[in-house]
Amino acid sequence: MSSNAITIPGAQIEARPCVDELHLWLTTVDHKRLGILYILSALLFLVIGGVEALVIRIQLMHSHNNFVSPEVFNRMFTMHGTTMIFFVAMPVLFGFANYLVPLMIGARDMAFPRLNAFSFWLSFLGGLLLYFSFLGGSGLYGAGSAPDVGWWSYAPLGARAFSPGHSSDYWTLALLVSGFGSIGTAINIIATILCLRCPGMKINRMPLLVWMNLVMAGMVLLAITPLSAAQIMLLIDRYLGGHFFDTQAGGSAVLWMHFFWIFGHPEVYVLIIPCFAFMSEIIPVFSRKPIFGYPVMVAATVCIGFVSMSVWAHHMFTIGMNSYANSFFTLTTMAVGVPTGIKIFNWIGTMWGGRIQFKTPMLFSIGFLFQFLIAGLTGIMMAASPFDWQLSLSYFVVAHFHYVIVGGILFALFAAFYYWYPKMTGRMLSELLGKWHFWLFLIGFHLTFDVMHIPGVLGMPRRIYTYEPGRGWDTLNFIITIGAFIQALAILVFVANLVISYLKGAQAGNDPWDAWTLEWSIGSPPPVYNFVTVPTVASRRPLWDLKHPEDPDSRYE
């Protein structure tokens, strides 16, 4: 495969001036560059959202702390939640999808390159719009203010009377704008997967990453749009004097909750399904076995996609729905655990009997499996509505969803970074720093989020800016804060690893992991045109076939 590049005799690649290089990045429509831009913008917001988390943790370190005022505390948790979901998790996953999907299906680019660039700039500028609220929240007449009504912005908190100034407007517009970006990207991913597969890449031969991103994109179309619709309604309320969520004119605050969570819960699966996709590519390669139960994995993903659309009101057990609604949403929520459980068994089945290589991507993947299982189990606990009545809006819930998002999504993302960084940059990430990153983050994570369940059970509500001494929460909160700083340290190691390895890392070559999907058949980083000749595939592991012509997978599928 080394001859797999176009060489133009006499043409020398010269280093471009900085301005040209910048211009190239700003105007690019290349899916690989846009993928990297998505990932870099997400990393930027990850650091910002992480600092906000640290401010929250310092404030809660001990009782009666005065590190920040209650107002600032409210802004911090609002901005932390909004940033992490909309401007970290979504863009970074879209970035990987952008980068990997065309390479894995043997395509030249996404189906609509300019729409792709448009979508990226929408979501990035949406993030800037959100942060502009720090300056312009009061209309630039002095000290501005960021939104402080929580990332749900429950009615009537989002109404003019309770959220004066422009902070909620920036929040609404940022989410609306980045939501349109997400819809554009989702349409692009679907069109790319359905219309640009290379010859032989039948729908049942696509890598699982491609399959799962297809399901994710379909869910984005159906789940992000209700949020956009609700944001339009909120804007109508705030600017045109509408009454959608105005209880004094007969409007309903509960309707906002429904609209928000019709988006909000599928959103969790929009975020976790691409992480399942990373796991389904990484675990087989480092277990040296093909994925166990490919068709079942696909079926389970589609099943999660459908069932997760009907579980949203489990976020609302405490608002007083009738017992039929409570039972329905308890049952659907528990049912979504079944296909998820199937996936966990399939990954374990893939590892079982394999020659497991404990490289950094695999370490993070194993961490993901363990922690995602625990997160799923606390999820099942809270799916039982009577249990939820006791613990809803407590730190138990905060611990649960951070277990999903940090222990699940972030660990899977780190695995993906270590796995695909060589492809994107041509350099290996340092294994030594990677192991430090993994163990520090693992310790910090468990210190923070294992312990966080306990104050929740003891009755500590979420979103309080301080608490009375003598409730038995002080020591626990102190441990949680220490854990948060260990995680921050691990992130610093990670960022250092990204930078150092980019400059001095070992050359990766085309295929450092001896993997099986098409992106490893071309150079690292891949040339602009991706594939010199359009590849033809005959099985789910085209590179295995290429490396083992005497025993190709195509013989068995």
């Binding site: 189906a111 679907i190 219309c195 209700p226 109508i236 004119a249």
Partner: protein
Amino acid sequence: MSAATTSFPNTSPAWDLPSRGKVAMAGLIMAESAIFTIFVVAYLFYLGKSLTGPTPREVLETPIFYTICLLSSSLTIHFAAKSLERDYTRLFLGLWLLTIALGGAFLYGTAQEWHRLIFEHGLTISTNLFGTTYYSLVGLHAFHVTAGLIMLLVVARFGFTGRMGVSQSGRVAVLSMYWHFVDAVWVVVFTVVYVLGR
């Protein structure tokens, strides 16, 4: 890769994939349907919950003529797209302009109805829940009709300069998918607002 290709004799040479324009438009229609669903749900949820008048029964009149205009524009755009496929460009242009006229008539009907509601009945978006939900739902639809009309006008301009031929029929087919969707949404909005809602 050439060596690789020869080692897989069981790969079939025929390789048909769907058109990316149609797939993308189908995706957009899915997304738009979800947005409209939320607005329809809000309309139905707030039926009869307004604390003050006017109510739908008092002020709404069923726009039968303009509904027929919009629905028949679906037929004309369908036949316009078909005639472009067969390269009947003059017939295409005629039917296309008819479609624009019918869509424009519908938009005029909406404008007239809004004018009547605002100036005769004093119903605005901030009057009561009915006003809020009615203007947002019908307005969202009218916005989509307007966006569609702009795209139709762009195509008509290309038609006048003689640039519309068989080679463009795929794109026109995608645009007509959008127009059919806008019509189908009106069937839902009409049923909800003028039939069930009164």
